[in-house]
């Protein structure tokens, strides 16, 4: 199907994008890679008055280390993040997760910022950001601010971003020496959205464990984290996650199935950590 008519403006910088958003007013919508937005516009499950194209904002592209953190610009494509040697070396969780994100032609245009801002509950990057304790940088009508990832996802496709607020980048603290990561995803076909998935980072006995495609949004299992910290076995952590997790069924799998998969994933990921090189 074809989308309804809309206007088109091209932003040159983050400030310019916010200015255009306010100028357009009603019906303004940011367009990043378009790999989710264009699909819904073509299908007419969403409509836009005017798209504000972010893809030419060079200052929001790129990956660099600043002090003890890695900064990734919101408009950096999935493909560039997945290929980055800095990411592969220092943030292997992200590199590993990217193997599961969509298909090559979609990764060439889709952006990490778009994926995080959209907050599809079945997306890999939101859960990775939770596991890595990232900070979201935003710029909007009310100015610039930083949002800890734990405060970012509020519900189904609902984030802390205000109307017109642009996600400009993410800041990921470098994992400590000896930190370990684990990632597992169950999907029907390679590159399809997940039926269930889990991203985990541990340092010593500290842990952040974030599910995707289990709830209405990417969500940590703090109950399983606490169990892990107090020395529970992978099987025990799996049991806690299965019991305590807030589960939300979708077209891919019922609530019961997701609850079951939450446990399966937890056991698999924690066993893979134990089998890996120790800290």
């Amino acid at each position: 199907m074809k989308p309804g008519a809309f206007g088109y403006r091209r932003a040159e910088s983050a400030e310019d994008a916010v200015r255009l958003f306010l100028e357009v007013g009603e019906g303004a919508q940011y367009l990043a890679g378009g790999q989710s937005l264009m699909a819904t516009l073509n299908f007419r499950v969403s409509e836009a008055g005017t798209l504000i194209d972010l893809t030419r904002i060079e200052s929001l592209k790129g990956i660099e280390q600043r002090g003890n953190a890695i900064h990734i610009g919101a408009l950096t494509t999935h493909a560039s993040v997945a290929r980055s040697s800095l990411v592969r070396k220092r943030l292997p969780l992200i590199a590993e997760a990217y193997v599961h994100v969509a298909h090559p032609a979609i990764r060439n245009r889709g952006t990490i910022g778009g994926s995080i801002a959209l907050g599809d509950p079945a997306s890999e990057m939101p859960a990775c950001m939770l596991a890595l304790d990232a900070v979201i940088h935003a710029n909007g009508p009310a100015g610039k601010r930083s949002i800890p990832i734990d405060d970012f996802y509020l519900g189904l496709y609902e984030t802390a971003l205000e109307e017109g607020e642009l996600l400009t980048g993410i800041e990921i603290p470098l994992p400590a020496e000896g930190a370990r990561h684990g990632f597992e995803e169950i999907a029907r076909r390679h590159g399809d959205y997940a039926m269930a998935g889990l991203a985990v980072m541990t340092t010593g006995r500290r842990a952040r464990m974030a599910y995707f495609a289990i709830s209405d949004r990417a969500l940590r299992s703090t109950a399983a984290e606490d169990a892990f910290v107090s020395g529970a076995s992978p099987a025990e952590c799996a049991e806690v996650a299965t019991r305590e997790m807030y589960v939300f069924g979708d077209l891919n799998a019922s609530e019961n199935m997701k609850r079951h998969l939450a446990g399966v994933l937890m056991r698999r990921v924690l066993l893979s950590l134990d089998g890996g090189a120790s800290a």
Binding site: A5, F6, G34, M38, A39, A105, R109, H190, G191
Partner: protein
């Protein structure tokens, strides 16, 4: 009244300028304005891969990219890749191995394959080929013959470059 915007781009090496509606996607622009109908339109929501073209050297979905976004870009379509001979060996192998039946998916398959073989510096495993093509649907062949053809080309290109 629908608003149109001027765009200038290069398509298969030739300069093109046109007035387009913002809502027109790149695949429709190529087919309707330029009569380059080798780029196919299947699902129009990013799933089937029939609309795959190259934009500034990278493969993209023609149906999820707006024509206005291609302003200033270099686009290569199956017509361009065929004429330049760049993918002649892949086309011959598809033909030889019966890697197409109705041919609807074939332009997208060929464009995607050209990127796969360009970005890997060894012969890909069958699993890697399937994973790279996971975003391209074929309703006819069952994929086996497509994978056969691609592995055959990869092997031939390696042995060619080793001598």
């Amino acid at each position: 009244m629908t608003e149109t915007m001027p765009i200038r781009l290069k398509v298969n090496g030739e300069a093109v300028s046109a007035l387009v509606e913002p809502r027109q996607h790149l695949a429709d622009f190529l087919r309707l304005h330029l009569q380059l109908t080798g780029t196919h339109v299947g699902c129009e929501h990013g799933v089937c891969g029939a609309c795959t073209v190259r934009m500034n050297g990278d493969i993209v979905r023609g149906c999820l990219t707006l024509a206005v976004q291609a302003d200033g870009a270099e686009i290569e379509t199956i017509e361009g890749l065929s004429e330049s001979g760049e993918i002649a060996d892949i086309q011959a192998a598809f033909h030889r191995r019966n890697a197409l039946q109705c041919g609807f998916c074939t332009p997208g398959m060929l464009v995607t394959t050209s990127e796969l073989l360009a970005c890997i510096d060894r012969v890909p495993t069958r699993e890697e080929v399937r994973s790279y093509l996971s975003g391209n649907y074929c309703r006819c062949t069952g994929y086996q013959a497509i994978v056969d053809a691609i592995v055959e080309v990869a092997v031939a290109r390696r042995s060619g470059s080793d001598t």
